[in-house]
């Protein structure tokens, strides 16, 4: 137990150090982007205006409001103070909306689309990969090329194929939106059904790509493990095949679990391609618009959430590894 505590504290220390550096980078990197975000806001407002002094007054007003005229160090300390009070400030691009409000309104669309898609893609992909490695023969010969083909399709390619076939040509599914263009959200069955129907194409455009990648990874790991010395030794010992397969897939799963944790950690960044092609609401386009509009507070907040989720996912995985694979704990705590 003492060894495990040492391992835990070591991981916690690295977690905190990484978080501090990531926090600083989250603040600095957006501000290193060329371009003046306030100029972008004023450019929108100034269309049609003739009075130069009036336009410049608006510019001054917004630089003061957003604090972009202050030294960067002062801006940083204000940012730190606000974040520790749970306040990410106003979004530049969606002012006067607060960053919290912007994220709150779109994060659930993203989580509800991404989380099930990641889990379903991961389960189906790993099951297919493991089966391909175990069954070999014709099954493997068919699955492998299909998986390679599908996983190498660009996400937008898959989304457009699904859109054209199932949305435009067959008209089985709607082509855009999170729910019916003629509906107002409510707890009615009609609305729920509409959400489910609109969900299908964005969901499968993510899942199909994920299945291919997961299947290839799992197949390779399983083949490696199936040929490992401990498997041969177990067979010589007369241990039942079923028992051996259990060991094999548990070991083959380890890198896949890491991949799953990373995927879940980064899911908040959104499914940008699916969101754009299917006009589906979510954080992906919010983040993209924030980046193109130089919306520092919104970029920093979203990337901070992503950073925290990835770090926490990795931290949890490391801690769980310590339990499920004693070799890792032993190596790390030396």
């Amino acid at each position: 137990m003492k060894e495990y505590l040492k391992y835990f504290l070591n991981k916690l220390l690295w977690f905190l150090i990484t978080f501090i550096f990531a926090f600083i980078l989250n603040f600095i990197l957006p501000r290193l982007m060329p371009g003046d975000p306030v100029a972008g806001i004023v450019a929108r407002m100034a269309q049609g205006m003739t009075n130069t002094t009036g336009v410049q007054a608006i510019y001054q007003q917004y630089t003061q409001l957003f604090g972009t005229n202050k030294p960067i160090l002062e801006q940083f300390f204000i940012y730190v103070r606000n974040v520790f009070h749970g306040n990410f400030g106003f979004s530049f691009s969606q002012y006067p909306r607060t960053v919290a409000d912007v994220i709150r309104s779109s994060v659930w669309w993203t989580v509800c689309l991404q989380f099930p898609a990641i889990i379903v893609g991961w389960i189906i992909g790993n099951a297919l990969g493991a089966l391909a490695a175990y069954l070999k023969g014709g099954y493997d010969k068919v699955l492998l090329p299909i998986s390679i083909f599908v996983s190498n399709l660009p996400t937008f390619g898959m989304a457009i194929i699904l859109l054209v076939i199932f949305g435009v040509d067959l008209k089985w599914f709607p082509t855009s939106g999170g729910y019916g263009f003629d509906l107002i959200p409510s707890l009615s069955w009609k609305f729920m059904w509409s959400v489910i129907v609109h969900y299908q194409l964005p969901f499968w455009s993510i899942v199909l790509i994920a299945i291919g990648g997961q299947a290839i990874g799992m197949r390779s790991m399983s083949i490696y493990e199936l040929n490992a010395d401990y498997v041969k030794y177990s067979r010589f010992m007369g241990i039942k095949d079923r028992k051996i397969v259990g060991y094999v897939f548990r070991n083959a799963m380890l890198p896949q679990v890491t991949g799953l944790a990373l995927s879940i950690g980064t899911m908040v960044s959104g499914a940008l391609v699916a969101e754009i092609i299917f006009s589906y609401p979510g954080l992906g386009t919010t983040l993209l618009n924030a980046i193109t509009g130089g919306d520092y507070p919104l970029i920093s907040a979203i990337t901070l959430i992503i950073t925290l989720m990835v770090l926490m996912a990795m931290f949890l995985i490391e801690i769980i590894y310590g339990f499920i694979d004693p070799r890792i704990k032993a190596t790390q705590s030396e």
Partner: protein
Amino acid sequence: MLLGACAPAAQAPTAAPAATQAPAPTTAPAPTVEPTVAPGGPLPRNETLYFNGQQWGSVVCWNPYSSSCNNAMAIAQQDNSRVLMFETPYLYDMLDGKSYPLLADGPYAWNDAHTDITFKLKKAAHWSDGTPVTADDVAYTWATNIKYNTSQGANFGAFIDSVTAVDPQTVDVKAKLDSNGQVVNPLEVVAWLDTDYVIQKAWTQKLEARTGGDATKLMADTADDVVYSGPYHKFFADDTKVVLVRDDNYWGQDASMFGKLPIPKYLAHEIYKDNASGTAALQAGEVDVSQQFNSNVQELWQAPLNLPISTYLPDAPYGIGASIPTAYYNMASYGLDQVAVRKAIAMAVDYDTIIANAMTNQSATFEQVPRSLMNPTAGEQALYDSSDPSIKALQWAGKDIDGAKKLLDDAGIKAGPDGWRYYNGKKLTYVATCPNGWSDWQAAIEQVAAAGKAIGIDITTNYPDWSVYQTVITNWPLPTTGYDIFMMYNDGAGPAEPWSRTNKLLNSRYAKTKNNWNGDWGGYVNPAVDALINAIPAETDPAKIKADYTAITKIYLTDVPSFSLMYRPQSFHTVNEIVWTGYPHQGDGTNPPVPPLDLMDGWSVAGLYNLKLVNP
């Protein structure tokens, strides 16, 4: 006296709008009636008009004092202000260049000293809470815009001294005077009448009270409780759509205005992420009025699609051009101070290809509408002498490679052994640029680069992000490389046009300044042009105005500090007659003519009263 006697034809007001159908009896003011959509039920298709192309992100607020509500269906104070929820005294009609009364009762009039405009308010006009719209509301709105330095206050504060209520129905607008006692800019004073919303005094005071008189808080207020005078108000808004619902007690059904309510009960706008999604929805019958660019729009009604979709004009250019995307020369770039170089590049550009590729022919060509400072509307074209032979000699339609080469040769800018041209021993090398992702502009810039190469001038392209691009070009001096030829938009149609566009293209008051979001980004300076531009707003003689615009056009086409690349409509206007019909089309018989501006901007709002169901 009436302004019509002392302003360019484009600003002449008209006595009263002609109702396109018989007026209905007036209803008494009463609180707003709640909408009738059943919980969870769909918006009734035959009562809902669907839009795309206006709203590209979530609605942020409903505050008419804010310029950052991103509320494209309800708030846009501009040359053709959006008047679905908030209303202006007058409505501008880009098709005939006239302004028609909305809240105002009859035409406005300048006083004899030409320092004040007076107009009356309609007695029928009332707010959504049933109280009348008064001159005090107009005056208080102005005072609030000035006090809190809103965008409207910041802009018009330079031209308007005060707005006061003479009596409950009469408003006096006092123009700002210069040191000579002359009105600073009568055109901008007139433009204010079509631009600025009138907002209820009582609600404004409520807003001030809850924001403690703090300007930032006042403009950041989401104003969910705002009182309005327009025919529609908020029904629903989230990250995917915004829906407005008709106020069945709207005052405009009075015989003194439209005589009836607008036909659709609901106006809905799904938030699409790009043009492709919007076009797919239009094809699917989920959009009735499309304000976005639909590539190759004619394919929607041609075989094999054969959809009941149409545009304002049946053939190319399909719409009425109003703005003129323009390429500016950086006058500080080596060799671009030479007129021959500037004109040669402009002459060599293949504009027909730009129009065919970038705009899929949704722009008039420069053969159809020869280049000048005017947009293609009849009102503006009439403001310069297009038949003047000296003007015709200066206009070019493009792809004149031989002419461009000759011009350069004659100026002594000849090609070296490597085929590139040299000026005073230095090779002419430029970068042409526009924001990344603005695909129609990028296609145009590629043609500028190709034109340069065709005449021996090495032009390459570069496409920075908009955030970088606009930061650079609004702050003189421009970089020594990367921004030699660059594109920017300019004004469309409006009550102060074409003066405002001309002013921004050429007036040196904007040249070589920082934080310049107005114009003359290339640094062109010509005192003769400045004098002409500065004189026009105060001119009252139409012949003199026309002569001045003709003179400026000659200088513009001679000096070529910038050049137009295409014409763009004020709003794209593609309509789907799957549910509704009666949209504005050329020759539709409406009088005043309803412009193709999405049925919500300026006088185009009158189109909402002419709609009919395809299957009643």
